[in-house]
């Protein structure tokens, strides 16, 4: 399977930046995938699945992050991540990914239709 690094540019477009809720959603989302994902901002590189590390990036509105992923489902992981960012971590998106509080987490994420 493809083990090369996949990458994708992410733009932070919500006003509060990658805040606690956002970082939590990212971590939960990535647990559904096998890929190892890292986020890069300038000289800093952190594990995207660790909310403390992601928060410490201090990614603010308007800033760009680079997501790098390794593993069989890397492209899918990046795609999902990209959508999360594009939709500004809206509740609706989170719900579609089954990331909202209280919902069972062991169901595979269904890509939203339309």
């Amino acid at each position: 399977m493809c083990q090369f690094k996949q990458s994708r540019k992410l733009v932070v477009s919500n006003a509060e930046g990658v805040h606690a809720r956002a970082a939590t959603l990212i971590a939960k989302l990535l647990r559904k995938f096998q890929a190892k994902v890292e986020l890069v901002k300038g000289a800093e590189r952190v594990e995207a699945g660790d909310v403390l590390q992601v928060l410490s990036l201090g990614a603010a509105c308007g800033e760009e992050l680079l997501a790098e992923a390794w593993g069989p489902d890397a492209p899918a992981a990046l795609e999902a991540l990209g959508r999360l960012f594009d939709q500004q971590f809206e509740d609706e998106v989170a719900r579609q990914f089954g990331l909202v509080a209280g919902e069972r987490q062991d169901v595979e994420a269904e890509p939203p239709t339309g």
Binding site: E16, A20, G49, V51, L52, G58
Partner: protein
């Protein structure tokens, strides 16, 4: 490594483990665990994570139900941090590899992150530091269980770091184990400062916020000479301070040798060195240092350390202890000198805008005569055991003094009627600390048996400077020529009468001022016990004639700064050991 600047209120250097008091009074009990306890400590940590996690889930569900999911989201984040971030790994590694206690490891790890967050430019993100502290608190609560140890149950030497200490906490510090104090607020003259001096431990106050940057158990250096605090000291700094602490010890040992020698100038003129004390327990220090008596027993802590007004027996026991221990040496007991705000069992005054100029001290005592009488009764009863004198504080007019003496006379009559013994000839004096008293000093000396110059407050009132106000502290100078003039006037008036006069403010304990004070004519100084050896050393190294010259030159100068520099120079000349 981080260095903080604060106000030096008690001299010396302390190096040791921090005991950090947060707003809930939490502290980390210990830093390391035994090797064979590592496994069980790790288990304990995992259990705490589990319990904390369940608790957060409950909170999340509750809040989500009541207010909606969006509000429950923050708990999701906490849960995420708790269960899925590196927190767990990092802490477990600290326990396993470095044998840190789970409490210390948790605190250290989380505070490091909190620091990172605080430094982020985004305002929102930097506020997330609060979340980190919240998680820390929760975990610590689960790790420590119900055992919230306050300052009472100490078992090893610590340096206490807190936002502030309540007067009752300061009063009840365990002197066996507290080796230094740092508080974010406060200044000289605060109860914390007074207690630190009494305990003879280094203290730095008013550093501003810093508590979140240090964890309990970490090494901290307190430099009570320079007013510095060092967090996470590097090797070099640690070595430097250890060296300094060693030098302090050597100097102290040398001065110790002076203990049984009299405080005599080179011409053989005897200077009486008395001690200022706050607690009865300090008399041991007094004797150990060779004090000639107690020049000022500040009775405030009888009121501060208690929840209700101390009754006559409480006063009596304390005074007895001091008088008995001092043998036949004089003990000057100063009556109540507090404001109502520090004494919960008194009605709070409505107007507290200018506490230093308000209803406090002798004024408050004269308005609460039963309380005043209780103290006077106890002092009189204790006067049969030795040489006791009464000192009235903050006297500003002759009328005030006469009123106070009337109450005293009344109490004496009362005791006589009931056949209770006391010293009928007991000497009565006033604290000279209000400028009006100095202006009328010729009249006052006719109605007092002795005078005690309180330069702390005298300087405040004369220069109109609040010495607890950080903004104007540079203006507070006891060597201001105006203050020196007032001291000179008082000493002269006492000399003419003659009645004894001593100086009991902080000035008296500073060796740089000794020659000046002797030169102005003072032959009695009341100082913190720890300062006695130093002042004695100066006395024994100088001649009165030289002191007079120093005083003359100082009095001719125009500003405090020049006078300070001059006096330090003179100290260096006459006592090279104290140069710096």
């Amino acid at each position: 490594m981080k260095q903080l600047r604060g106000i030096a209120v008690s001299p010396g250097v302390a190096i040791g483990e921090a005991l950090v008091m947060d707003t809930e009074g939490f502290r980390i009990p210990r830093r390391f665990v035994a090797r064979d306890a590592v496994e069980s400590e790790r288990e304990r940590f995992r259990a705490a994570i589990g319990a904390a996690g369940r608790e957060i889930e409950e909170n999340r569900d509750l809040v989500s139900r009541e207010l909606g999911e969006k509000y429950g989201a923050i708990f999701e984040a906490h849960l995420e941090i708790l269960r899925h971030s590196r927190l767990r790994e990092d802490v477990e590694e600290m326990i396993t590899q470095r044998h840190y206690s789970p409490e210390y490891a948790v605190s250290r790890t989380l505070r490091r992150y909190a620091q990172v967050f605080r430094n982020l430019r985004s305002h929102y993100l930097s506020e997330r530091a609060a979340d980190i502290f919240d998680i820390e608190k929760r975990l610590l609560r689960h790790l420590l269980g119900r055992r919230r140890e306050g300052l009472a149950q100490l078992t090893s030497p610590v340096l206490v770091l807190a936002h502030d200490l309540m007067p009752s906490e300061a009063a009840n510090l365990d002197r066996r184990f507290v080796r230094g104090i740092v508080t974010e607020v406060g200044g000289p003259g605060s109860h914390t400062a007074i207690v630190a001096e009494a305990l003879e431990i280094p203290a730095v106050l008013g550093t501003g916020p810093f508590l979140t940057e240090v964890s309990g158990g970490e090494t901290v250096i307190i430099d009570g000479d320079q007013g510095l605090v060092v967090l996470h000291p590097d090797e070099e700094t640690l070595a430097r301070y250890q060296h300094e602490a060693e030098e302090h010890r050597c100097l102290a040992a040398r001065l110790e040798q002076l203990r049984d020698l009299p405080a005599e100038t080179k011409e053989g003129e005897r200077i009486k060195l008395l001690a200022n004390i706050e607690f009865p327990e300090e008399v041991e220090h007094c004797l150990a240092r060779g004090a000639d008596g107690v020049g000022l027993y500040r009775t405030e802590f009888l009121y501060l350390g208690a929840k209700t007004e101390p009754d006559e027996e409480v006063h009596y026991q304390a005074y007895c202890q001091v008088v008995r221990t001092m043998g036949g040496r004089p003990v000057v007991i100063r009556t109540f000198d507090l404001g109502a705000d520090k004494v919960p069992h008194l009605p709070q005054p409505e107007d507290q805008r200018n506490p230093f100029l308000g209803l406090r001290s002798i004024r408050l005592a004269l308005r609460n005569v039963p309380m005043f009488r209780t103290q006077l009764r106890a002092i009189l009863r204790a006067s049969t055991l030795g040489q006791v004198k009464i000192l009235f504080p903050l006297i500003s007019t002759l009328l005030e003094l006469r009123q106070a003496k009337l109450v005293l006379a009344d109490v004496m009559e009362d005791l006589e009627e009931h056949g209770v013994e006391f010293d009928r000839q007991i000497e009565v004096g006033i604290m000279v600390e209000v400028p009006s008293a100095v202006m009328m000093i010729d009249r006052f000396v006719e109605e007092c048996d002795f005078l005690s110059i309180g330069t702390n407050d005298l300087t405040q009132y004369t220069l109109a400077v609040d010495r607890s106000n950080k903004d104007v502290i540079p203006l507070y100078n006891p060597t201001d020529p105006a203050v020196l003039k007032l001291i000179a006037m008082t000493v002269e008036a006492a000399r003419r009468r003659p009645i004894p006069v001593n100086l009991c403010g902080q000035m008296s304990g500073n060796p740089a001022y000794t020659m000046l004070l002797l030169g102005l004519g003072l032959r009695q100084l009341s100082v913190p016990p720890a300062a006695i050896p130093e002042i004695k050393r100066v006395c024994r190294s100088v001649r009165v004639a030289d002191c007079r010259q120093v005083a003359e030159r100082a009095m001719a100068m125009e500003n405090a700064r020049d006078i300070e520099l001059f006096l330090r120079g003179e100290l260096r000349r006459h006592v090279p050991e104290f140069g710096a």
